[in-house]
Symmetry: C2
Subunit: 243 residues, 2 copies
Amino acid sequence: MVRTAAALIIGNELLTGKIQEANLRVLALALRSLGIELRRASMVLDDVETIAEEVQKLASSHDVVFTSGGVGPTHDDVTVEAVAKAFGVAVVQNEPIAAMLRAHFQERCTEGHLRMALVPEGAELVRNSEIPWPCVVMRNVWLLPGVPEAFRAKMPLLRERLEGGRPFVTRSVYTQMDEGELKPLLDRVVESHPSVEVGSYPKWRDPSYKTKLTFDGQDGEAVEDAMRAFVELLPKGEPQRIE
Amino acid sequence: MVRTAAALIIGNELLTGKIQEANLRVLALALRSLGIELRRASMVLDDVETIAEEVQKLASSHDVVFTSGGVGPTHDDVTVEAVAKAFGVAVVQNEPIAAMLRAHFQERCTEGHLRMALVPEGAELVRNSEIPWPCVVMRNVWLLPGVPEAFRAKMPLLRERLEGGRPFVTRSVYTQMDEGELKPLLDRVVESHPSVEVGSYPKWRDPSYKTKLTFDGQDGEAVEDAMRAFVELLPKGEPQRIE
């Protein structure tokens, strides 16, 4: 069973602020519904050594790792090389992928295009009838594309392949109280409901509420209990709403 | 001179996909304009041990580190405790901050509110006449708030305090060519302009271009040269536009 996951987000364009990262949340929500806990994300530059080191560290401390980005054919796409390095294997051309590229580009197919057929030696191709372009999976590391539409398109493959635990559930309570006032009430609920993760999020400039409280866990009944216990501690007129 | 930076983004709400991370890009852009390279970002859960370990690692390998989140008064706000632990110091109440809190909340001021006056021992308060609520800075680690409006409001303090290098500049070229076709042209420019960082970003479903090429560096003339050298290699009808 897959319990813990990490994400490795790769790309200079993110750390230079050129674009807003958009894949992590998609992955986080997919994993929640699979009952897999995303424990950490790292964002690094397009550098083989840095990526290889990070892959090694994350893959040895989590059940599954997802990389995002760096899988195209240009000089700044170094994820395949880095993952191969992390596992001490060579980079080889995958024949089924090369054949797909040749069929797609026909006489326009260049060396550049064929670079997209390179995989770490021993990698597995994951695909299905609706997603013919494969995902490269090296041991417990999934190499996902950085382009958000392409990243999102791979999520059904995760759902098909990974067996997690019970899906996580969340309840949310909105109040007009501030965190200083809420703290003693929250402490009581946190102490009496150890299996439920309680979050507190102040919001600025929203007239409808001041603080949002969240109750999360894999045991839906415990989550519901914790939420109810908290609501009972609130003064008259609260909460503003429950979701 | 401050050359390298890392970000530590803290919060269960991000790794569970409840909200979209919004501070990293704001920080990245502020640092670019200061000539400071953001080399890495880590995103972790609200766990003291994990945060302390990460702070230690990032602070010892970068000139400056920015944390985002976990500085409120509730049980899930553990950044101050973790930073103190990372530097092996105690958590103490800062009198100037406690006085500000008492003045603000008056007779409503609780123990919970006063938790926001806790700082790692030896921390410095950074503020100016327009930003009276201070930023807590422990050695080379800035503790920034997670709420996006509050995070953004602190950026002028970075500009005032940190002396970086020359600001980074970027030029962008948009083409209808795909990355496989572009690769040999890019390789020539990358080789002949080692001080310029060249990026290649395919775009799906945008009729106006297929691939965006970026040229980045602190030497504006070199960036311009690399961009021009690339444009001269393009076939007739390209590029679509230059920015």
